[in-house]
Structure formats: structure tokens, C-alpha cells
């Protein structure tokens, strides 16, 4: 069986991770001094991506139950990376901090995605009847 809430969480985390990885690609491009040109199209993509993340992050992290843990780090990354050009001009210690915080968010989201997928796999082997019976029996056992 499929659980609506679980499927929604999985969709949200996939979307967040996808945007988060694209942000990383563009930041990495910006930090690569060997690539001298940052096109206006890349800057547009970057701004659009930041727009999605700024709009969706708080809602998604709250739905996933990791708002307190990740909100600060996520906002730090988004606030520091104003544009690709601005990322290129960041001092070294700021760049290190940016990468560390990006990685902390990515790692946590990856772990949560794994947990959700494990839950989905567990549910896939159950019918709606066994799922609800299991819940009732667990509740009854907890009451005693």
C-alpha cells in the first residue's frame, strides 16, 4: 500500500535535494577560477534556483520535521550566495563555511530520504488491512 503523507514527504525531499544539487553545481562553477566567464543565463538560472529554495525551504523542512536543525544552515548558504559572481569573490574562509554548511544540509536530507524510502519499502509489502490491524494492535499493547 501507499501512504499519502509519506509519498508527499518523498516528493518534497526529492525536489529540495534536486534544487540543492543544482545550486551546488552553479556554486562550484563560480568557484572554479579556470572558468572565466559567468554568463547572464547562468546568473538567471542561479537567481531562479535561489527563488525556489527561498520560497520552499521553510515549508519543506517543517513538513520533514528538520526545520530547527537545518533552517539556519540553509539560510546561511542562500544569503551568502547572492550571485555566481559574488560567490567567486568570497574570501577563502567564507567559501569553506559555505561548503561545510551546504554539505551539512545535503547530508541530513540524504539520510532522511533514506529513512523515508525504507518506510515506503516496508509499506509496499503490506495491505491496507494488515497496516491498520497492526496499528490497532500496537495501540492496544501500548495501553496495557
Amino acid at each position: 500500500m501507499r501512504d499519502r503523507d509519506l509519498e508527499k514527504k518523498l516528493r518534497l525531499i526529492e525536489l529540495q535535494l534536486e534544487s540543492w544539487k543544482k545550486l551546488h553545481d552553479l556554486i562550484t562553477y563560480g568557484l572554479d577560477k579556470a572558468k572565466p566567464i559567468v554568463s547572464s543565463e547562468q546568473e538567471r538560472q542561479f537567481t531562479e534556483l535561489r527563488g525556489y529554495l527561498l520560497q520552499e525551504t521553510e515549508y519543506i523542512l517543517r513538513e520533514l520535521g528538520v526545520l530547527a536543525e537545518l533552517s539556519g544552515k540553509t539560510m546561511n548558504v542562500l544569503q551568502r550566495s547572492v550571485s555566481i559572481r559574488a560567490v567567486r569573490e568570497l574570501p577563502n574562509d567564507e567559501v569553506r563555511r559555505l561548503e561545510t554548511e551546504w554539505n551539512a544540509v545535503f547530508t541530513k536530507l540524504g539520510v532522511v530520504r533514506g529513512q523515508l524510502k525504507a518506510r515506503r519499502k516496508q509499506l509496499a509489502g503490506q495491505t491496507a488491512l494488515t497496516y491498520h490491524l497492526g496499528r490497532i494492535f500496537r495501540r492496544a499493547a501500548a495501553a496495557h
Partner: protein, 242 residues
């Protein structure tokens, strides 16, 4: 095997009513794209059974029409918030694009979307292996594209039948004295079928010498077809990069 759906929705976090319905369907694998260019680049690289566009009627239909022009065999549906005007509904019908109005109860909408998913005919099939003595030419599409092998056969004035087998299904192109006479892929025939086969990058092909089609659905010279389809392919790639 799951039915694969690509859903174009520019706000999949907050406007997720339709997504929720698809997510609850057993045997359906969803993939979400936020922009048309993203959707086109995904469609170029992967095989999907259906494409769903969500949004305001005019915009959704415009995006679906773009995709229809580049992927003629794809099953497409537009899920629109309001009932479209007559003109748009007619245009959708002409392009074989399903129109679904989303402002109805969850159960009703769920039923309609379920019917759309069930209507997607699974044409998957694995490429048959083994050599048949009738086949005078056999190969892989990832080594030689359909355009290359057809060009070669047309230049050498061949007559016979090309069979293309991939996970998208099977298709046939008949040649007569170096010209394409007939092409068929699923419900598509003629130039639309040729255009579809041009995009295939995976699968196998077989050529059987001397098999002639009595039906003629293509009447333009090979050179014109080649130029048109290569141009169309360029336009698709351009759309993906916008």
C-alpha cells in the same frame, strides 16, 4: 513494469493536488519538471509513457502543443484549472491532447486521471536477439543512428523493410529503390512515424531485402525528409536549452 509519467508543474510544492493523486496510484512512476525546457531535455534522454501538463489552460495547452510537435507518439494530457474556451478545446483535440479540468472533487478527478493512466498503452518490448537469415543488415541504434543507416540504404538504392526494435516499441520503414515508401510506428504512419524513429538512440535494427509495402504513406524524396527531420531535431534540442 511501472507506467512512467512526466509531469510539468511549475509549482510542485504548493500546487500539488494532481501530483498527490498520481503518487497514490500503484504502478505509476512520476517524474516532475518545473519548466518546459527541463521537460524537453528529460524527454530527449528518457522514455516516458505519458506527459501531463498542469497550469492555466492557455499556457498548459501551448506547452503541450510544443511537446506534441517534437514527440508525436507521446500520450499527452493537460490538467487545467478552469474549463477552457471552445477554441482551445478544439485545438487540443486536433493535437490529440487530452483536456482534464481539475476544479472537481478529489474522487472524481482521481477517477479521470486513473482512466488516463490506464489508457496509456504499454508498448514496451525488449529488442529481439538472434540472427535471422532473412536479415541482410543488423545493428545497434546507439552505434548507428536511424538517420545514418537510412541515408546509407537510400544512397545505395535499396528496396526492403527496416524493423526498429527498442523499449519504445517496434516500428517499420519500407524502402523502394532508395526512397521511403511507408513507415509505421504504433498509431503513427508516414512522415510522423519517420520523425519519431529519427529520435531513437537505443535499440536494434534489422533490414530485410526485397520486402515491399503495398501501402504508400510517404511521398517525399529521402533528402527532404532527412533535412526536415534533422532540422526538427535541432529545434527540439534548442527548446531544451531555452
Amino acid at each position: 513494469m511501472d507506467t512512467r509519467l512526466l509531469i510539468l508543474n511549475n509549482d510542485p510544492v504548493f500546487e500539488d493536488r494532481v501530483l498527490t493523486i498520481f503518487e497514490m496510484m500503484e504502478g505509476v512512476e512520476n517524474h516532475i519538471a518545473r519548466t518546459l525546457s527541463e521537460a524537453v531535455s528529460i524527454l530527449i534522454g528518457e522514455i516516458f509513457d505519458g506527459f501531463v501538463v498542469e497550469g492555466p489552460a492557455a499556457l498548459a495547452l501551448e506547452q503541450a502543443t510544443h511537446v506534441r510537435q517534437h514527440f508525436p507518439s507521446l500520450r499527452i494530457a493537460c490538467v487545467v484549472a478552469e474549463r477552457p474556451v471552445e477554441e482551445l478545446a478544439t485545438a487540443a483535440e486536433q493535437q490529440h491532447i487530452g483536456l482534464i479540468v481539475s476544479c472537481q472533487s478529489y474522487h472524481r478527478l482521481s477517477g479521470i486521471l486513473g482512466r488516463f493512466v490506464r489508457s496509456i498503452e504499454k508498448r514496451s518490448g525488449t529488442a529481439a536477439e538472434g540472427i535471422d537469415p532473412c536479415h541482410s543488415l543488423i545493428g545497434n541504434l546507439n552505434q548507428f543512428s536511424a538517420a545514418e543507416i537510412l541515408q546509407m540504404s537510400c544512397l545505395s538504392q535499396r528496396s526492403g523493410r527496416f524493423t526498429f526494435k527498442s523499449s519504445r516499441g517496434n516500428s517499420e520503414i519500407y524502402l523502394q529503390h532508395g526512397a521511403v515508401r511507408h513507415a509505421i510506428y504504433g498509431s503513427l504512419e508516414g512522415e510522423a512515424a519517420v520523425a519519431e524513429i529519427f529520435r531513437w538512440r537505443q535499440g536494434r535494427f534489422y533490414f530485410e531485402e526485397g520486402i515491399i509495402s503495398q501501402v504508400q504513406t510517404v511521398d517525399r524524396p529521402w533528402a527532404h525528409l532527412l533535412i526536415d527531420n534533422l532540422q526538427k531535431l535541432d529545434e527540439t534540442l534548442e527548446l531544451a536549452s531555452v
